[in-house]
């Protein structure tokens, strides 16, 4: 487990990796399953994973060296080559773009004389983009050496540039930069709960595990991570599966662009999350649990470790919980390192085992063959919170909230074009129009429900209701008003999927990249009707042959926007049936750069 007071925030001049490496490896007890955690620490200490460190770790863990390279290169936040003392990553969700992140990035690159994606010649810094960092309600946002910075503006960028140029350690930067607001706009079942920590655990002391499962089943609680699998059935299957040990895993890899409710739950309701995990452990018979926290939220580590320690001190975790013989359970926090795919439960388990986060073949499912091939219950942060409330209220009272097939409440992460972005909790069944009105959205053209992998709906559908009957959602709610270009929204999402494809299967690895190229071709004004046909063809291949949900949903943004906002595409098309993707003039760009020319003679004539 990562200790609270880890010297990881030191920038490279302060960190003596060779002195620390031995200690880092020793702390992880030479466990192969801790490889990713170990690499994250080395990265934080040295700014990258040096060749000799990789060889040393391989020898100490008795694994092939290539495995280190293989794992490290899978995660965006790990570097095998020096990536600068200061590694600046601009969050590049569409909401960040709408708030002007591209101009800010350009400003910073100009100020510090660096090109995006390249390390400065003096090795001081690199500037690049990263997938949504979960700060959409207070963007534009960035990560500097893993630290989240919110509410960027021209002034702040200027200041950050100065701090970097002066080599001021990030730990000494103004605290205000790192302030993350909760922005809770509307409370409910979860956010307004008045439970004392340990209360429900205490109240269910005498309740048999099977009864806990029956209550959860009776409450009709369904997973809040997007798939909506009935939670009680999952816990029951895990309990009944054969295995030497059982595990509870909390999926806090909140990577779906536009979603940030788990961040707020972990900030304000950490006890409820851990209580839910402990109740689940009791129900399924697990002794060990993991919270898999996305790397972007590592700033929450200190807080979460403190809550865990308080719960241990209060007999709510550890051996003989609340004095009950044999009720032993503890929770370890594992960090992610920039890989959206690890939000998929089997990929998450691979990552927990210290491997590349590639989704497994299913069946078998994690409930029978999960962590270390043992029965494992993987649930979303919000699901664990809801489970505590369901057990506290009883199945019937819980079921009375929401709709028939969607019981309980749902936290919605609202961002984009509205007066009050933030977290809204509603009973299931709330209409899109209601949320739009509550968050002060006007002239709304479209709403992207549940992130890029979800669906995009237009104005004529705003009466539709959130819930498993109609619009299932993991919680993202991105609002676009009539000034927005829906083609650019879709293109941003397509770039996201191409960046996050794990690369395991052919259709997703190649298809998402082809889709990106096609959208870029249309954006550049070279698109034709033929390209729209190709998009539809790619969509069919991705949907039918992809290994997991990422590939199967990667075309959704394009298909939905094509359906509702076709003119946004068609105005960009050339009125030809075919237009080559090869840009003859563009191919001369490098020659122009090398010769320092940009005059008319250095360009081919437009053949308009």
């Amino acid at each position: 487990m990562l200790p609270d007071a880890n010297p990881i925030y030191g920038e490279s001049p302060r960190c003596d990796l060779h002195a620390d490496l031995h200690e880092i490896v020793a702390r992880h007890c030479g466990e192969k399953t801790n490889l990713l955690q170990l690499l994250i620490e080395v990265q934080a200490c040295a700014g990258y994973i040096p060749d000799d460190a990789a060889s040393y770790i391989a020898a100490m863990l008795a694994i092939p060296r290539s495995r280190i390279e293989s794992v490290a290169s899978f995660y965006s936040f790990l570097h095998l080559k020096p990536a600068g003392e200061y590694r600046v990553l601009f969050s590049d969700n569409i909401t960040d773009r709408m708030l002007g992140n591209q101009d800010l990035m350009e400003q910073m690159c100009r100020q510090l004389w660096v090109q995006p994606g390249k390390v400065s010649e003096d090795g001081l810094l690199s500037i690049n983009t990263t997938s949504c960092t979960g700060m959409c309600d207070q963007g534009p946002a960035m990560l500097v050496n893993g630290h989240a910075i919110t509410r960027l503006g021209s002034q702040r960028i200027q200041e950050i540039g100065q701090l970097i140029r002066n080599r001021t350690p990030v730990a000494e930067w103004p605290a205000d930069y790192f302030k993350v607001e909760n922005n809770i706009r509307r409370g409910g079942l979860i956010l307004d709960n008045k439970l004392a920590y340990g209360q429900v655990l205490q109240a269910t002391r005498a309740v048999a595990p099977a009864t806990i499962i029956d209550t959860i089943k009776g409450s009709n609680l369904r997973g809040r991570g997007g798939a909506g699998f009935p939670t009680g059935m999952k816990w029951e299957a895990c309990r009944n599966a054969e295995g030497e040990a059982r595990y509870v895993v909390c999926n806090a890899d909140e990577g779906e662009p536009g979603t940030f409710k788990d961040r707020v739950l972990l900030t304000t309701q950490a006890d409820l999350v851990f209580e839910g995990m402990t109740l689940c452990a009791r129900a399924v018979g697990a002794k060990k649990g993991f919270l898999y926290l996305r790397g972007e939220y590592r700033y929450l580590l200190g807080h979460l470790h403190a809550v865990l320690q308080r719960r241990r001190d209060s007999e709510l975790l550890g051996e003989s919980i609340l004095g009950e013989q044999g009720f032993d359970f503890d929770i370890e926090i594992h960090l992610g390192a920039g890989a959206y795919i690890c939000g998929e439960e089997s990929a998450l388990i691979e990552s927990l085992e210290g491997k590349r986060g590639v989704p497994r073949n299913r069946p078998p499912f994690p409930v029978t063959h999960g962590y270390l091939q043992q029965p494992t219950a993987v649930d979303n942060v919000e699901t664990f919170c809801q489970a505590v409330l369901a057990l506290h209220m009883g199945a019937a009272a819980y079921r009375a909230i929401g709709t028939e097939k969607s019981s309980g409440s749902k936290l919605i992460s609202v961002s984009g074009d509205c007066a009050s972005p933030g977290i809204y909790e509603y009973p299931f069944g709330v209409s899109v129009r209601q949320i739009l009105s509550d968050c002060g959205a006007v002239n709304t053209r479209a709403v992207q429900i549940s992130g890029p992998s979800g669906i995009c709906i237009g104005e004529h559908e705003f009466e539709r209701k959130l819930g498993f009957e109609d619009l299932p959602t993991a919680g993202a709610f991105m609002v676009f008003d009539d000034s927005r270009d829906m083609f650019e929204v879709a293109r941003n999402f397509v770039h996201f999927f191409a960046h996050e494809s794990c690369g395991f299967c052919t259709p997703c690895r190649v298809g998402t990249s082809m889709l990106k190229q096609t959208m870029d071709k249309v954006a550049a004004g070279h698109g034709t009707q033929h390209d729209l046909t190709e998009i539809e063809n790619l969509d069919h291949v991705l949907q039918t042959t992809s290994h997991c949900g990422l590939g199967r949903t990667a075309c959704n943004p394009v298909l939905h926007t094509l359906k509702h906002f076709r003119p946004a595409y068609e105005t960009r098309l050339k009125s030809l049936d075919f237009e080559p993707a090869f840009d003859l003039d563009g191919a001369l760009a490098r020659a122009r750069q090398m010769t320092g020319r940009d005059d008319a003679g250095a360009h081919l004539k437009e053949n308009e």
Binding site: D51, D52, A54, S55, P64, R65, S66, R67, E69, S70, S73, F74, Y75, S76, A339, R356, N361, P363, A498, H499, E500, S501, C502, G503, F504, C505, T506, P507, R509, V510, G511, T512, S513, M514, Q517, N537, H540, V541, T544, T545, S546, H547, A581, F582
Partner: protein, 243 residues
């Protein structure tokens, strides 16, 4: 009595633990495939073996056989998908068949012919993938890699060496070797390794024997891959434990 499932309307018997692909090949039914190899645990990445099982598309190499399944494979809808996947693999790497030592022995090329892939279909990506000629006896030409992981699996499962691994993510996924220098000469690979024999395309090549077998007399020149795969299928059919 053995259980059966239906493959394109024909009853196919299977042993418990077999996948649809293993049972089909054992019973003399061909399903196109690339990353599947009868001697290794299937992992299902190339997706060429995609079939329809009770109406849903699945990779047949990893799909456990079950009594009563209705499997469709030899239908135009699926072959069209397979053609697109082959086109994707061609577009992703640098494949120049006319000058390739593996021409005629290459599974990707053979599948292209057998599935009647007549056009490129996609813009080729022309990735920059330098060769590794560091080893005295073995050449690695990464341009042709289709990321099937067969060499990774063979080196690890059979040779016990872990010479190969995959690194990177998404479109940047690539084959690496197990050495700090990143060069094959610094690994413990040997010409006799299983990993030397399993590459379905032309990445891993022994030096100094190029074109010793004339083009026109090669494996897939004699008969198409659909026929060859059946001849190679293991019998008895428990593919995973095959000696």
């Amino acid at each position: 009595m053995t259980d059966t499932f239906q493959l394109d309307g024909v009853a196919v018997p299977f042993e418990p633990g077999q996948t649809v692909m293993q049972a089909a090949l054992a019973a003399d039914h061909y399903i196109p495939h690339l990353c599947y190899h009868p001697e290794f645990k299937p992992h299902g990445s190339c997706k060429l073996c995609t079939v329809k099982v009770n109406g849903r598309t699945m990779a047949s190499c990893t799909m456990p056989a079950e009594a009563g399944l209705e499997v469709e494979s030899e239908i135009e809808e699926l072959n069209a998908l397979r053609r697109t996947l082959v086109q994707m693999l061609f577009a992703e790497g640098n494949h120049f068949c006319p000058s390739c030592e593996k021409s005629g022995n290459c599974m990707l090329q053979a599948l292209g012919y057998d599935l009647e892939v007549h056009a490129a279909g996609f813009r080729h990506q022309y990735p920059d993938r330098p060769l590794d000629a560091s080893h005295p006896d073995i050449l690695l030409d990464f341009n042709r890699c289709i990321l099937c992981e067969l060499c990774v699996r063979a080196s690890s499962e059979v040779d016990g060496k872990n010479v190969f691994a995959l690194a990177g993510r998404g479109n940047n996924k690539h084959l690496i070797v197990n050495a700090e220098s990143g060069q094959l000469k610094d690994t413990d690979i040997a010409l006799s390794d299983k990993a030397m024999q399993v590459c379905p395309v032309g990445v891993i090549l022994p030096k100094r024997v190029g074109f010793s077998q004339p083009i026109g007399e090669r494996r897939y020149d004699a008969s198409p891959i659909s026929a060859q795969a059946l001849e190679d299928a293991p019998r008895p059919p428990s593919g995973v434990e095959h000696d």
